[in-house]
């Protein structure tokens, strides 16, 4: 507690741009992110008897139902449809849950934001962090399912961190944008839910792109960022391939662009949060 050595000085004139300020602040407050993630994980499992197992059982249950109902309709020709659906669900759930949580947390944290200084992006970042932990946990049932239905587990799995990183960047970017809008308009959270449902069906999670009619099918996939990210996620696990450069560049581009836009949008508005929430 030696004050003389280090007196922090805050000068509103010497502040850099909001976007870079926020970045340094997050580095300084990284322990807060850890605490937020810890809180989310702890509180989620404290109340449920199944605990951590729930994270693994939830997508597994959805997968079972979808496989029973849709395997003939959408993926009849496909070997290992169950693993195909499950991997898509894991990627999608991460995206949907984290962006939702980012919105909820920021609105929840509004009363705090009015009173003490904390980096505002910490809500969206910790929501994405919690999502990442859940994603990693749900890889366990995926591997088990793959063993059971005899989808070979290949060495290309080591490429998995790349799609996960891109997916997380995209998710954080969207989370920042949607949560900013939710601060201003109460109905954004609800509208985003509806958008997510539509988006889910427009992304090849339960169906495979081959079933699309040629005429407009291409556009459904081409214009959908989640198409590339889910595909990139599946390549090293399900297809057992090394992701090709084209897919890597497109996905990486989407990830960087979305995160950058989200960060700039959020930080340009975040000084207003203190009187908006």
């Amino acid at each position: 507690m030696d004050k003389a050595t280090q007196v922090p000085i805050y000068d509103s004139d010497r502040q850099g741009s909001a976007a870079t300020e926020e970045f340094w602040a997050i580095l300084k407050y990284r322990y807060l992110i850890v605490q937020f993630v810890r809180r989310d994980i702890l509180t989620r499992y404290k109340r449920s008897a199944l605990g951590v197992a729930w994270t693994m059982l939830n997508p597994l249950g959805t997968m079972l139902i979808l496989t029973l109902v849709f395997s003939r309709a959408f993926g009849g020709s496909q070997e290992g449809y169950a693993a195909y659906v499950l991997s898509g669900l894991i990627a999608w759930n991460f995206f949907a849950q984290s962006t939702n949580a980012a919105t909820l947390h920021l609105v929840w944290g509004g009363s705090l934001l009015k009173k003490i200084y904390i980096p505002r992006t910490s809500f969206a970042i910790s929501a994405t962090g919690t999502g990442l932990i859940n994603l990693l946990l749900s890889l366990v049932p995926l591997l088990i399912v793959m063993v059971i239905i005899q989808v070979p587990i290949r060495w290309t799995m080591i490429f998995l961190p790349i799609p996960i990183l891109f997916l997380a960047m995209f998710t954080l970017g969207i989370g920042l944008i949607v949560s900013t809008m939710a601060i201003y308009y109460a109905d954004i959270a609800e509208m985003f839910q509806i958008t997510l449902t539509a988006w889910f069906y427009l992304t090849p999670i339960i169906w495979s792109p081959e079933i699309l009619p040629e005429l407009y099918g291409l556009w459904i996939t081409r214009l959908n960022p989640m198409f590339y990210l889910v595909e990139l996620f599946r390549v090293p696990i399900i297809y057992g391939q090394v992701p090709d450069v084209r897919l890597l560049l497109i996905s990486g581009g989407i990830a960087v662009f979305t995160l950058f836009s989200g960060w700039m949008f959020f930080t340009s508005k975040s000084d207003e949060f203190a009187y908006r929430v």
Binding site: Y31, Q35, R38, R39, L42, L113, I116, I118, M181
Partner: protein
């Protein structure tokens, strides 16, 4: 730390010391403008419709304007004024929660905002877990909180309940824990927004003693209160804000009296 028996002469002595020292807070021609839609648009659908009809007009509202104020090290400054005068906005500027629209805010030292204790508590987490969460919200690391932990629990008198979820605490217990976390610090600048009434009487005495302890350690304190007695007891200098501008600034007694006189006709000061 039983300091609440301190006498008047000491206070005046403090003031003279304060005057000779450097400024720790400087507000230089500060203004804060809120941009608010003329009509409250609550939903995005409504916004789109009105936008389409060209009905959105943004109005400017200056919550603070032309504020010049310097606060020296060790000073205890009171802030009074009716609701909506800009008191909270001023605290937010100093606590870095907001940036000024115009002018410059300079703050030297670590600011501890003691506003609404336990705001970040999660009911499902235990007292222990919440101490670490709350500490992180105040910008402390895990190691720093480890070091503080025993003192915090001791001060809050909650050893028996520390591993019980906070949802099972009485509101007094939660407030005590929040207060203990927030005040186990060595701040340069302390911001107090009407908080001297936490817990039962004995705890209130304890917390007041801690507040006075900060003053003796040389902390600069900014106090917002509607209670004239508290202001007169704690502060040397008082700022009276009205409509976002400084209406009067000077020795506590004069300013408080002038303010009370202005409030006379309504008999009861607002809130």
């Amino acid at each position: 730390m039983n300091l609440h028996t301190e006498s008047e002469p000491q206070l005046t002595a403090n003031m003279q010391v304060a005057e000779s020292q450097e400024n720790v807070i400087l507000l230089d021609n500060v203004g804060v403008r809120y941009r608010i839609a003329s009509e409250q648009v609550g939903t995005f659908k409504e916004y789109l419709i009105r936008r389409f009809q060209g009905q959105i007009k943004l109005g400017d509202f200056w919550a603070l304007r032309h504020i010049n104020l310097s606060i020296s090290k060790g000073e205890v400054l009171g802030l009074i004024g009716p609701n909506g005068a800009g008191k909270s906005t001023m605290l937010k500027l100093i606590a870095r929660v907001m940036r000024p629209t115009s002018g410059r805010v300079l703050v030297k030292g670590m600011v501890a905002p003691l506003i609404e204790f336990g705001a970040g508590f999660h009911p499902d987490l235990t007292g222990r877990e919440n101490i670490f969460l709350n500490g992180a919200l105040l910008g402390f690391t895990n190691d720093e909180m480890q070091e503080k932990f025993d003192r915090i629990v001791e001060f809050a008198e909650l050893w028996e309940f520390i591993d019980v979820p906070v949802r099972n605490y009485s509101s007094g217990m939660a407030a005590r824990l929040g207060f203990a976390v927030a005040t186990d610090i060595d701040p340069d600048i302390l911001i107090l927004d009407e908080i001297l009434s936490v817990g039962d009487e004995s705890f209130q005495r304890k917390s007041l003693a801690r507040m006075k302890g900060f003053r003796h350690l040389g902390a600069t304190i900014i106090l917002v209160s509607h209670n004239a007695e508290t202001i007169l007891e704690m502060c040397q200098r008082v700022v009276w804000l009205e409509h976002g501008q400084i209406k009067m600034i000077g020795a506590s007694k004069e300013v408080v009296e002038a303010y009370q006189a202005s409030q006379e006709p309504t008999h009861e000061p607002t809130q």
